[in-house]
């Protein structure tokens, strides 16, 4: 059976989401396993979002924001960087495979990088198989 991972993407409006759009206008082709939520800034991300995503059954979570120093709101992504680094450590501590949560800084002009990251992350999730540690089973 071919396992197709379901990945939750969270992308910041100004950089990563725009970069993902650029991958589209360039007509790059990449696996379509990522379903993206748009937020205005990566700093909006509450660690509870990541945990919730895994509870909902996401096999992987991919967060994208502006490169540190280039945040549309100045310093937002610097807080995101630290917060999400701690979140990753907590997830690992709680038994989640570290590779299932990835944070990547992708700018608005990096369409190609977006496609490559998604391709790579999807490949990694396929190898890991379905996520079961946090997924809430429905009766």
């Amino acid at each position: 059976m071919d396992f197709e991972p379901r990945i939750l993407g969270i992308a910041c409006n100004w950089c990563t989401y725009t970069g993902a759009d650029l991958a589209g206008t360039t007509r790059l082709k990449y696996p379509q396993n990522v379903r993206t939520v748009r937020v205005m800034c990566s700093s909006r991300i509450n660690p509870s979002f990541i945990i919730r995503a895994f509870q909902l059954g996401a096999d992987g979570v991919l967060v994208g924001g502006c490169h540190p120093g280039d945040c549309h709101y100045g310093t937002g992504n610097l807080y995101a960087r630290r917060k999400l680094a701690v979140t990753k450590k907590i997830l690992e501590f709680a038994g989640m495979e570290a590779k299932r949560f990835r944070v990547e800084w992708i700018s608005a002009s990096e369409g190609k990088k977006y496609a490559e990251v998604v391709e790579e992350f999807t490949h990694d999730m396929k190898a890991l198989g379905p996520q079961t540690k946090f997924k809430i089973k429905k009766d």
Partner: protein, 653 residues
């Protein structure tokens, strides 16, 4: 219970080719709370928009979802559509099934099932969307133009003519930019100074333009309609209010600095004006080379100045300026060709780059308009012009710099006029796209210029042929005859790539702009919005956006002025409605939000011991909400519930 309408756009075949659009609409109909789902060829067209509005009325919709192109493309469009049908514009959700679905896969099943998941997510979120009220603030009517080259000058003049006050900030001692360095301009062979200096003078004379030369932007605060910009006035050591431009000081000065204006070909005085028609025509002292600043002696300029305008005590001063919009027109630099060692720039004195040649041609230049070798007297008997040095080059700049073919043709023409030498033109393609450009090329073809179709491989001084001793040998493959050719010449002229300014990335950071991989400022949309940026209120014009010629720079200056006017012509502007608000009951008074906000929007109320957010300052980024340990901050339109509901919908399928 919501009444949701889902509208799926085909976008011609852009979406419909890969996503099964009617199946998508059918799927949407099955979702709880969706009362109507349509699909249509072009949802953003008039009939498409009317379809949505009709359905809002017919079915009493209170939430609308449009599955189409990216929200970055048409969210604004559809917000207006639903507003005109009586719905608050924030009761809309856009689903991106084009840029992030149909365009990035060829598999119909994959594309359609992803689109279903995305729509499901949008429906989950739409149920929780709330109407938001727009607020308005006053708009500052002034505009700042950063960069006093031809694009910036044009923008400033257009705005000033509409009655707006313009601050024209220029880093060097004079306005004019690179265009003022040129001799003649293609294809008309107009004298550059002759067409530019009237505009420079117009800037000086226009009472609506405050000319701030020798100034740099230091800090930018605020937002569209209300920018607060700190400018550094660099110390000139000359009081421009007292100076009457007699220039006696420049005659006596013993100090010498490298002339930036003459591209380093000669030295200039330490107290100087860059060129005779400089605006303002008042000198500055170059501290690095000034004898007094270096050794503590001299002060000759001070002695001869009858206006007592020299002031060695001057310091850099700062000034705060408030404007409603900004135009970036900071121009370009030519690539440094020294690293391209195969061409020998910097090693062989006979190798020049394009701007150096312009200075040689220019009658006000270091050789009074004579084309001579670096010894200052020998006329070159043969000159080779090399196209595409650094441009169209994967190892340097992949793009074409757009103007070099034309100015290289111009050089060939002027060289035939000013010297009796042989002129060789080594090109890959001949790019002459503008008005009168191809005709200019045809003219050159008749002028006994030797065209060789091939990019020069190397410039060397080594030769086995005794007749070629002392010459520079240009090696090239003539691709039309498929022969390897060596050309002995006296002088080589390189046409280097046009690239962004060295500090373009720093400027971008100041103004919160994105740059592309080369450092050019990124436009909002390369076709439909080339002059605006993702930062509202900051516009771009000229070569800082991408390489271009003078007509295009002028057009963009005018265009950017119009763009800036759309902001400053209004008295008030609509504020971001998706702002953050503190739930005072839950706030624990930790002031985390106050500490982290880049805009100072949250403020602590010491009487109530809670934080309150100033909605005029809030930009809606959400950092405060994610930093609140009490989960007391709600970011409208992106609340925790809304985001997590969307996630639930996305993961359900």
């Amino acid at each position: 219970m919501s009444r949701i309408g889902v509208f799926v756009c085909h976008c011609g075949l852009n979406i419909a080719k890969t996503v099964r659009v009617s199946e998508l609409a059918e799927f949407a109909r099955t979702l709880p709370d969706v009362v109507v789902a349509e699909d249509y060829k072009f949802m953003c067209s008039t009939p498409g928009q009317e379809l949505i509005q009709e359905d809002i009325r017919k079915h009493n919709l209170d939430r609308v979802i449009v599955a189409a192109c990216s929200p970055l493309m048409h969210e604004r469009t559809f917000r207006k559509v639903i507003e005109n049908a009586g719905l608050n514009q924030y009761l809309l959700s856009i689903v991106n099934v084009r840029e992030q679905d149909s365009w990035v896969t060829e598999d119909e099943d994959v594309a359609t099932s992803k689109a279903k998941a995305l729509i499901n997510g949008a429906v989950y979120r739409a149920r929780l969307l709330q109407p938001l009220v727009s607020r308005f603030i006053d708009v500052n009517p002034n505009v700042m133009v950063v960069g006093g080259g031809i694009a910036g000058i044009q923008a400033a003049l257009e705005l000033a003519d509409t009655g707006k006050k313009v601050y024209l900030v220029e880093r060097s001692p004079t306005i004019g930019g690179h265009m003022a360095q040129f001799d003649k301009t293609f294809p008309t062979l107009d004298c550059s100074a002759c067409i530019l200096t009237p505009k420079m003078d117009a800037v000086l004379q226009n009472s609506n333009i405050e000319l701030l030369t020798y100034c740099e932007v230091e800090e930018v605060k605020g937002f569209v309609g209300n920018f607060d910009i700190k400018i550094r006035q660099k110390a000139r050591y000359v009081d421009h209010d007292k100076c009457n431009a007699c220039l006696a000081c420049t005659e006596k000065c013993p100090g010498r600095g490298v002339s930036e204006w003459d591209e380093g070909l000669v030295r200039r005085k330490s107290i100087y004006i860059p060129f005779p028609q400089a605006v303002p025509q008042k000198p500055v002292i170059d501290r690095e080379s000034c004898t007094f600043f270096k050794k503590g002696k001299c002060r000759l300029c001070e002695k001869v100045c009858e206006q007592a305008a020299i002031d060695f005590e001057q310091k850099d001063t700062f000034r705060e300026v408030k404007v409603g919009a900004v135009i970036m027109a900071t121009g370009y630099d030519l690539m440094d060709t020294k690293p391209l060692v195969q061409y020998g720039y910097g090693k062989f004195p006979g190798v020049h780059h394009a701007l150096e040649l312009e200075r040689l041609f220019n009658s006000a230049g270091p050789t009074s308009g004579k084309v001579v070798m670096r010894d200052g007297k020998t006329e070159p008997q043969s000159i080779a012009i090399l196209h595409c040095i650094g441009s169209r080059d994967k190892n340097n700049y992949e793009y074409c710099s757009r103007v070099c073919c034309m100015y290289s043709l111009k050089f060939a023409h002027l060289l035939k006029e000013k010297t009796h030498g042989d002129v060789y033109q080594l090109y890959i393609d001949m790019r002459a796209p503008g008005k009168g450009y191809e005709e200019f090329y045809n003219r050159l073809v008749e002028e006994d210029v030797k065209f060789i179709r091939g990019k020069a491989a190397r410039v060397t001084d080594k030769t086995d042929n005794p007749d070629h001793a002392g010459k520079l040998i240009v090696e090239v493959e003539d691709t039309l005859t498929s022969q390897f050719v060596t050309i002995p010449v006296d002088m080589v002229v390189l046409s280097p790539a046009m690239k962004p300014r060295q500090d373009a990335k720093d400027m971008a950071r100041l103004f919160n702009l994105s740059t592309d991989k080369y450092g050019f400022f990124m436009e909002r949309h390369p076709k439909l919005a080339p002059l605006s940026t993702m930062t509202d209120g900051v516009f771009i014009a000229g070569a800082c956006q991408s390489p271009k010629d003078i007509p295009d720079s002028v057009s963009q200056g005018m265009g950017a002025a119009a763009e800036a006017l759309t902001i400053v012509v209004k008295d008030k502007m609509e504020l971001e409605a998706a702002t953050a608000v503190v739930n005072s009951a839950a706030c624990c008074g930790c002031q985390n939000c106050v500490r982290v906000c880049p805009y100072g929007a949250p403020m602590f109320n010491y009487e109530k011991n809670i934080s309150e957010i100033n909605e005029a300052l809030c930009k809606g980024c959400g950092l405060c909400a994610a930093s609140c340990p009490a989960s007391a901050i709600i970011t409208r339109h992106f609340t925790n519930d809304q985001v997590m509901a969307e996630m639930e919908g996305l993961m359900e399928i």
